[in-house]
């Protein structure tokens, strides 16, 4: 279709061009941000699709709900009867995560409070750098620390036969998730408006009172989100727990007994299970369980953060 050029057209075109000129760079940036956002969703959807696709033949075939979730017998290469029970692995994952959080959450939040409220700006900078450094240590290195340092220490301190156990893995996981908890927790505290502190101090509150009575309730949701992100971190960790737990299929009677986690099982066995075999598919079913677990944790964290904003 042809457009009729009228008198006012040149003016309008000029105006349009002017308007267009500025948005060009903006449009590119906009597009980039949009792609970034969308690709995240696409990636997660693709991951879920991939896990489902790989585990599907197992889920409709050898999968037995009762055995899978309520039996501790994980015998993927048995010569007698192949059994896929993940109860022991699930227990290991839950135990290690819960205990590591019992250590990391109080420590991390206390540290966040200290950095955000109590220390001088100079000390704060030093601490932040150190904490970032802590976050940069690779998980294999943590695994080595678990075997070489924490293992003999636990044997000596508690007089137990083996130092690669639930406690060891929990300590390592706590150390690994601390940086995350501290930085998110600190952000939450920083986000509390300065006027709250000023008002409280004007009323004669001490620093301690400001922290416990004003900041804690005000930043509650953000701090909980920090803790839950730490849970997510602990849940998904693989290499360090593979080395620290002792990688033993049993439901531990105490924190001094070895255990095994879902993630470590996948890491240890996927490499040697033939692609497309039943064992391979069962490992992907474990992946699905993990996906659901971390999805729930992240969803809760997200919900809490949004709760804080409203």
């Amino acid at each position: 279709m042809e457009i009729k050029v009228t008198e006012s057209a040149p003016l309008a075109m000029e105006w349009r061009q002017k308007k267009k000129e500025k948005p060009v760079s903006e449009k590119i940036i906009e597009g980039m941000i949009k792609t970034g956002g969308v690709s995240c969703i696409v990636l997660i959807a693709a991951i879920l699709f991939f896990i489902l696709k790989e585990s599907y033949p197992f889920l409709v075939g050898a999968f037995n709900f009762k055995e899978f979730f309520f039996s501790e017998e994980w015998y993927p290469a048995s010569v007698v009867k192949i059994r896929y029970g993940i109860l022991a692995l699930l227990t290991g994952t839950v135990l290690v995560t819960v205990i590591s959080m019992l250590i990391a959450v109080p420590l991390g939040l206390a540290c966040a409070f200290y950095i955000s409220e109590f220390c001088s700006p100079k000390v704060r900078e030093i601490y932040k750098i150190l904490i970032e450094f802590l976050a940069a240590i690779p998980s294999v290195v943590w695994g080595f620390i678990a075997i070489m340092m924490i293992n003999p220490t636990i044997i000596q301190l508690f007089d137990v036969p083996i130092g690669l156990n639930i406690l060891n893995a929990s300590i390592i996981l706590a150390l690994m998730s601390l940086p995350l908890i501290i930085s998110v927790g600190e952000d939450a505290l920083r986000a509390v408006p300065e006027t709250y502190r000023e008002a409280a101090e004007a009323l004669g509150a001490t620093k301690w009172e400001v922290a416990t009575r004003i900041l804690l309730p005000a930043a509650k949701n953000g701090l909980m989100a920090a803790a839950l992100l730490g849970v997510g971190r602990a849940l998904g960790e693989t290499m360090a727990v593979l080395m620290a737990t002792g990688h033993s299929i049993q439901i531990p009677n105490s924190i001094f007994e070895p255990g095994r986690t879902l993630t470590a099982t996948i890491a240890a066995e996927l490499g040697e299970s033939p692609k497309g075999g039943e064992h391979y598919q069962a490992l992907f079913a474990i992946g699905l369980v993990l996906f659901c677990l971390s999805f729930v944790v992240n969803l809760t964290a997200d919900y809490l953060i949004r709760g804080r904003r409203q």
Binding site: E72, E73, W74, Y75, P76, A77, S78, V79, V80, A88, I147, N151, P152, I155, D159, V160, P161, I162, L164, L242, G246, H247, S248, I249, Q250, P258, R260, A268, E269, G271, E272, S273, P274, K275, H279
Partner: protein, 287 residues
């Protein structure tokens, strides 16, 4: 000028042809065999400069899977190929899998040096490791008391259930109809097993003989409770008096090419056998 061009062309062609003559043999599989395969590859460079071997580990299953997919020339395995794997390879590549026994390996059962136990019978090993076995404490095995091991509980160190070493160990001590007990520490490599036993007085572990070091003590093994207790050595593995010894295999898809065949033949020469012994393995009995 013409002569120069000719010379340059000749040089170019010879350079190219030289390059294409360096043939790489892809060799992958068993972690038990990887040390030996690497030592062989190292030496074979001197024997045939035109052939290079790319050796990698990953486990027997990985090697055979790669053979089935046709991505390796030689698959290393510490267990015999299963009939269904053979069928799958035939289906995928159209070739029959050829088997070569290149050496032997004895699985050593070892304990912490402070453990006073000297030897075990296969039955006792089964009692410790097998499903339903009643030996949970060192006192259940010849009334042993291990210094430095507080409650005298046996800590079983094992391997992940799809490793070739695990599967061979299971078959050697329990036969084909039983499983290993759960609750062992299933480590990811032979070296890790040794490292852990070295640091743990209560522990018992197993691995290929080649991995043994003086910081753990290998036990002698009796076939039955009244037979001689045999130490894992090159000699005892070769004459098969040591009860837990096995063949190490290399597999090719179809008849190997001339180059691969030459390499496989070389692995059975005296020089190669020397390397085998030095790496802690046992040469294959003469065919």
């Amino acid at each position: 000028m013409r002569r120069l061009v000719l010379v340059l062309t000749c040089l170019f062609i010879s350079a190219c042809s030289q390059k294409s003559e360096t043939i790489i043999i892809q060799n992958k599989g068993s972690d038990t065999l990887v040390n030996l395969a690497q030592a062989w590859a190292e030496e074979y460079k001197n024997v045939n400069t035109k052939v290079a071997l790319a050796v990698s580990g990953g486990g027997s299953g990985t090697g055979i899977a790669a053979l089935i997919n046709g991505t390796v020339d030689i698959a290393n395995s510490s267990r015999a190929i299963k009939p269904e794997e053979r069928d799958e390879a035939k289906k995928n590549t159209g070739n029959d899998v050829k088997e070569f026994i290149v050496g032997m390996d004895a699985l050593a059962v070892f304990v912490h040096p402070s453990n006073p136990l000297l030897g075990l019978s296969l039955e006792e090993v089964a009692c410790i490791y097998g499903e339903g076995g009643k030996c949970t404490h060192w006192s259940d095995v010849r009334g042993t008391i291990v210094p430095g091991c507080k409650d005298n509980k046996i800590i079983r160190v094992s391997r992940q259930s799809n490793s070739g070493t695990y599967q061979y160990f299971r078959e050697a001590i329990l036969g084909k109809k039983k499983d290993l007990k759960l609750g062992s520490m299933d480590l990811n490599g032979s070296r890790e097993s040794i490292d852990l036993v070295e640091k743990t007085p209560c522990a018992i572990g197993y691995s290929g003989m080649g991995y043994l070091n003086p910081r753990v003590r290998a036990l002698c093994i009796q076939k039955t409770s009244d037979s001689d207790c045999v130490e894992p050595t090159v000699k005892s593995a070769m004459d098969k008096s040591y009860p837990i010894s096995r063949e190490l295999y290399m597999y090719t898809s179809g008849n190997p090419s001339e180059i691969v065949q030459a390499y496989l033949d070389w692995t059975q020469t005296d020089r190669a056998h020397e390397i085998t012994v030095k790496a802690g393995y046992v040469p294959a009995p003469k065919r």
